[in-house]
Symmetry: C2
Subunit: 470 residues, 2 copies
């Protein structure tokens, strides 16, 4: 190598939630730290995932209420609202990305804008426009490069009529119809979003239910909510190919639905299908690493098979979630610094942010029955909750699954208002072994949605107060 190799105490590749947190934690422990980013600072979460989609969903929820109350009627007004929503989303992105840069500067982290590429297991070069800026070295490397749509999950993607979620966030206009391929959380979020903006949506999921990671009861109820909204939901359906019509006006999606070949014509196709670890340009092989089933394999300490190299976040798979990446960043840094913490995947909440929200933690009812045999189910519908009635948020329920002997909470599943916040009561209970009997001892403020959590705990032993039985 001709250029001098700079050495850092730690190098992090990728600046999404996992990467930036790892860098901050290293820096706060006094390690000289470098972070390399070839795309947008903040990664998927800040630029194309969590933050922008939540900004858009919040606007959609408001729009829906405005339409219901008769304040907005005309489709021009909806389009202009859409454009304003997109602007607000951009402002939110600017704010979080700006905030992140401040944090990195605060902690004196060296920022490399460019593509990281392994030369040797502990030496990387940073490339800009194909040219190496500078080779850097560290005994401690964390790969946090994220994930991207699989090739086969974006057939025909042209960024215009056939798009991925990245393209979507730059949309300037609304199509009249859209087929969304992928019925997981993001697929459902986009389906409700575009539905509210007047787009005719077809949602396609290859498994036998939408939201396959969540409790079956939530899947079933959510499907019927989507259907009520006039979203067409096709489960057991695989997308096979796309073809743009000769007049460029529609795009045809070839599907196999419950074994039968069919086609769906719409103005746009949105792929939110399977993702895989994004390692383009990284030259993993030079660090003696490679993808397995699309992701970098790690042990419960987030260590790869290559000494001194860890991987965290979407690039290791097991669900693409910012807070999973946060947790993995902590675990990786702690292990690198000599502790021996391990991931506890059981306690990662999963959240759906469309209206109504949904959230899950721990075992689903099916999983709990498989693992534990008989279990207790406590359930309370929001339609019997005072705050829900007062505010017109009556859809959904809280479900607490507990084991029979000590009442230990095994899983919590919430569909309904504030589900994504309420789920943390489940997270706290499960992390610190607060059983249903202990939940019953608490005082819940009235009127709050949290009371539904309390009543679900009471229902475990048939003691729910505000519920008609049988």
């Amino acid at each position: 190598m001709e250029k001098e190799v700079k050495t850092f105490d730690a190098i992090v590749i990728g600046s999404g939630p996992g990467g930036y947190l790892a860098a901050i934690l290293f820096a706060q422990k006094g390690l000289s730290t470098a972070i390399i980013e070839k795309g947008d600072f903040g990664g998927t979460c800040l630029n194309r995932g969590c933050i922008p989609t939540k900004a858009l969903l919040k606007e959609a929820t408001f729009l829906e209420e405005a339409i219901k109350s008769g304040m907005i009627k005309k489709s021009e007004d909806i389009l202009s609202f859409f454009k304003k929503a997109m602007e607000k989303k951009d402002i939110a992105i600017q704010q979080v990305v700006g905030g992140l840069r401040n944090l990195l500067n605060r902690d004196r982290i060296t920022i490399f804008q460019g593509e990281a590429s392994f030369i040797e297991p502990h030496t990387l070069q940073v490339l800009r426009d194909g040219t190496s800026i500078e080779p850097i070295h560290s005994d401690r490397i964390i790969i946090a490069t994220g994930a991207a749509l699989k090739e086969e999950s974006q057939l025909g993607r042209d960024g215009k009529k056939v798009i991925g979620s990245d393209d979507l966030l730059k949309m300037a206009d609304l199509p009249t119809s859209m087929a969304i391929v992928g019925g997981g959380r993001r697929g459902v979020e986009f389906a409700t979003f575009f539905n509210i903006f007047g787009v005719q949506v077809t949602l396609i999921e290859k498994q036998n239910r939408i939201l396959p990671q969540m409790d079956r009861e939530i899947s079933v109820r959510y499907k019927s909510l989507l259907t009520k909204r006039n979203i067409k939901v096709l489960t057991d359906t695989e997308a096979k190919s796309t073809e743009i019509s000769k007049d460029q006006k529609t795009v045809r999606l070839q599907i196999v639905s419950k074994g039968k070949s069919e086609t769906i014509d719409s103005k746009m196709i949105l792929w939110v299908g399977d993702r895989q670890g994004y390692v383009t340009g990284l030259h993993l092989e030079k660090a003696s690493l490679n993808l397995q089933n699309g992701f970098i394999p790690v042990n419960p300490s987030m260590k790869t098979s290559s000494p001194g190299i860890y991987a965290i976040g979407d690039v290791v798979g097991r669900g693409c979630l910012a807070h999973k990446a946060f947790m993995e960043a902590r675990v990786a840094v702690e292990n690198i610094l000599g502790q021996s913490t391990r991931i506890d995947d059981r306690l990662v909440p999963i959240c759906l942010y469309s209206n109504p929200e949904a959230a899950s933690i721990g075992l689903t009812e099916e999983q709990a029955k498989t693992e534990w045999g008989e279990v207790n189910i406590g359930k309370f519908p929001f339609m019997a909750c005072g705050r829900s009635i007062a505010t017109g948020n009556q859809e959904g329920m809280v479900k607490i699954i507990s084991e029979k002997k000590y009442g230990e909470v095994l899983g919590v599943h919430i569909l309904g208002p504030s589900a994504t916040e309420l789920i943390h009561l489940g997270a706290m209970a499960m992390r610190h072994e607060i059983g249903v009997e202990e939940i019953k001892e608490m005082i819940f403020a009235h009127p709050t949605f949290s009371e539904a959590f309390f009543e679900a705990a009471l229902d475990t032993s048939g003691e729910a107060i505000h519920m008609m039985k049988g």
Copy 2:
């Protein structure tokens, strides 16, 4: 007595949250139970308190956003929105009251619609239009008759220009200006509500800060938020008398503000001042009971000084809160049935539902410092929280007060989005001795407002991630 005396295993006087829960708990234990109500079923909470005000505040929050986004401009539109909001509020009341009647019927509780009046310590007559319907007897009596504005807290009240919160919920029109006397939670809620509907509001509080039950930091920040909204806030100010002008168009309020006599002219005065136990017609003296400082005195088991007679809810004072009444109902029934549970007042959350919300549990910073000397304060502003940025809810903070040795949580104070739900994380932590170190071990979903709670715990030891320091 001429009529035959019917005997019940238990009698509950009053059907608000405390009363109806006590009746349900008795009935679920197999006791023949009577409940007596002379006014509206469900008491203040369902008819004039929690439920209707939360319904109205929800509409106000929506209206505010609609005004901001330019969807609503004209004052006629605001008035018509007000009328619709009042209708929605009435529908919510009907639903909760209807639900309550179903619950009482479900549990075969005997309902007496009429005025309860003691004849002897354990015998009551139920009067309708001044005539006794039927004398009833029980060894177990719970008084849950609620509270009403003190005489001196409703000077000049005529139900039209000088009103209490009960009158307010029947309003058909909006005044152009209003003086609200009482700067506690309900006063602040009404102030923001009418402000959003274009009413010029003056809020008057006799103590040296609004929201005097909450942490001083919340009082101070909320005052500046109200001022920003163009609400005039007068603290250290006592209301002395009211006088309606000769043309009946305005009403003059005489005040003493920081020692100086002044007057405020407005179109309407709303009293939300001090309340006292409501026992009109009850003839407490025949049960050898009387009010002390306006409330029925009870011990920590909710027992009055008269054997076999308990009192719960607003009639015993110590803050008028439905969930305090719920808890007291449980404690009273458990003690009557032979257990010896006691009230733990420390763990009652206090909630403010205007926008932004606020909520408190446990000791305020001042109280904690007085009781514990030095304490740890962890604080995190919502402006650094991803979900707040994404959804434009950046006002406020989470503050966790903990003791220094074990990190035990002493108090949690939240101003900001979902405060009234998030507070239950504090409630659970405090009830089950989960200290700040244990909170740090949890995984919080991203992006959620709950992350601010996590970051506040991290900040206790200077480890908050998403915050610029100094």
